[in-house]
């Protein structure tokens, strides 16, 4: 065997592969990262599964007979029920991973300084996935999705000015035969965009990571083994949910056929949309909903600048308030499932903004002092 042959092979033939291998072997990571740092990897795997199953579903999905075509997919298409299971359970688990990762970033102040760009990309990813999730809820063709869509379109088209123009462009006018076909395209585009956003967010977070001091390790094999074990655990949970709780968190109305004559008293959303539904519930009309969503998004985007701490580990009070925020978001979600007292609903809504706009600047400045 000659030296040339020894140095050949797939790595030499594909510089990208060689670069990837070199990157995986480079010792530039601090050892002992917690298991929760694998969340972006897991989210990437779930997004890949959502894209693959979404592609298979789109082949047979008929927007003009949404629920009938989904029933057809489940019963007639080879492995169709598995594709539905992948997509439904993947959506639910993806949001679990995303919410936990964002909460962890809040808890550890992973949004400060150079990581601000990464944080904003994560918030954008959340917005894209929430919109994609809502479109998926509508595309399901269930009673809840149908009326959520009708309400959204009717209220949006009543808007005037540029907001009305954007709504008209997005929904394609009044609800009709082509509405779901149009939203299917946006759903798919948002799914692909989410994968790109995840990649960008991970890259930005990696760039912002401080250079570790002392002994360093490479991704391969230390963190590869960690990610592999985490993926195996995720696959186990995924399989259990898909097989034993296929309709987990979907909302009862998702299983009822859409009907223009059966008007539900309140739309039951999938669990991952409930915090957003709780946030917007206090404001009637599309304008009010849009205002609440924009205000919440603005608070999240502005967080790196609202945090007044110069650096250092987060203090106990900040951590306690962050846990309280988590409970507040859970409460907002709960308020969309079962009606709460009006005062409590207002308190939950107001607390969300007080946390970001008042408590975060005050507590972080106090702890930095």
């Amino acid at each position: 065997m000659t030296t040339e042959t020894k140095q050949g092979g797939p790595r030499a033939a594909t510089p990208c592969l060689a670069g990837l291998c070199a990157g995986l072997m480079r010792r530039d990571l601090a050892p002992g990262a917690p298991w929760l740092s694998t969340l972006p990897v897991l989210l990437g795997a779930v997004l890949a599964l959502l894209l693959a199953s979404g592609m298979a579903l789109a082949v047979f999905y008929d927007p003009r007979a949404a629920q009938a075509s989904l029933r057809f997919i489940a019963l007639e298409v080879p492995a169709g029920w598995i594709m539905r299971g992948y997509h439904v359970t993947g959506a639910g688990l993806g949001f679990v991973l995303l919410y936990v990762h964002l909460f962890r970033m809040l808890l550890t102040r992973g949004y400060r300084g150079p990581a601000a760009a990464g944080w904003m990309l994560w918030v954008t990813l959340l917005a894209a996935l929430l919109l994609a999730g809502w479109l998926g809820f509508a595309l399901n063709g269930g009673l809840g999705g149908y009326w959520s869509l009708i309400d959204a379109i009717s209220a949006s088209l009543a808007l005037s000015g540029p907001a009305g123009g954007v709504a008209m462009w997005f929904f394609g006018g009044a609800p009709g035969d082509g509405t779901l076909a149009r939203l299917l395209v946006f759903h798919a585009v948002l799914g692909v965009a989410a994968a790109g956003l995840l990649w960008l967010a991970c890259a930005a977070t990696r760039q912002a990571r401080p250079a570790p001091a002392g002994r360093m390790v490479a991704f391969w094999p230390v963190y590869a083994a960690q990610a592999f074990a985490a993926l195996a655990l995720l696959a186990l949970v995924f399989a259990l949910l898909m097989c034993f709780a296929p309709h987990w968190g979907q909302g009862a109305q998702s299983q009822l056929p859409a009907s223009s004559l059966a008007v539900p008293a309140a739309v039951s959303y999938p669990w991952y949309l409930t915090p957003l539904a709780g946030l917007t519930a206090l404001f009637p009309g599309a304008g009010g909903h849009a205002l609440a969503v924009i205000a919440a998004a603005a608070a999240l985007y502005a967080l790196p600048w609202l945090d007044r701490s110069g650096g250092g580990a987060p203090g106990g009070l900040y951590r306690a308030l962050t846990w309280l925020l988590g409970l507040d978001v859970l409460g907002l979600g709960l308020s969309a499932v079962c009606p709460l007292a009006a005062g409590l609903q207002i308190l939950l809504f107001v607390w969300f903004f007080i946390h970001f706009l008042v408590l975060t600047p005050a507590v972080t400045a106090m702890e930095a002092a």
Binding site: V59, F60, V77, M83, Y86, F228
Partner: protein, 185 residues
Amino acid sequence: MVDHTADANSVPVGESRRGFLAILAMAGGAVGAATILWPVIDALNPDAGSEAAARPVVTVSDIPENTARQVMWGGLPILIRRLTDKQLADNETVSMDDLPDPASLESRVAPANRHFVVVVGLNTATPCALEGNTPSEPRGDFDGWLCACDGSQYDPLGRARRGPSRRNLPIPRFTFINEAQIQLG
């Protein structure tokens, strides 16, 4: 203390074990990924109903002589007719000059199954359904098919013979999968 080297020239035992575990993990991961992704690939196969509708199998062995069976395929009425020996002999000797759309017997039937004619049962002049599938229905002067609307007449091979129709009945794509069954498409 454990001796990590078997001898001076061999790979250290620790590295060998690590390599084995890495290969085992990668193999397990590959199997897991394939198990997850295989249903995605399988789901892109056509469903059983579409496949059956796109390429239906029709049993022809029980069609009586001088009778046609109609099946719907791709929205078109397909007529499958079993010819008698006399019809075969009579139509083999028809002069091509007498036909508006000349076609020999060999071009109208499968060589190995000459007793069956398979045509699209729509008149080629005005696209309406034809009569003559059973001997009790009107069949025209050529004992084939007749269009009651415009009077077009076809012989048992589906060739245009009289009336406004100037083209033979089209022959759909089909295959004899055995002596008793044909598959359309």
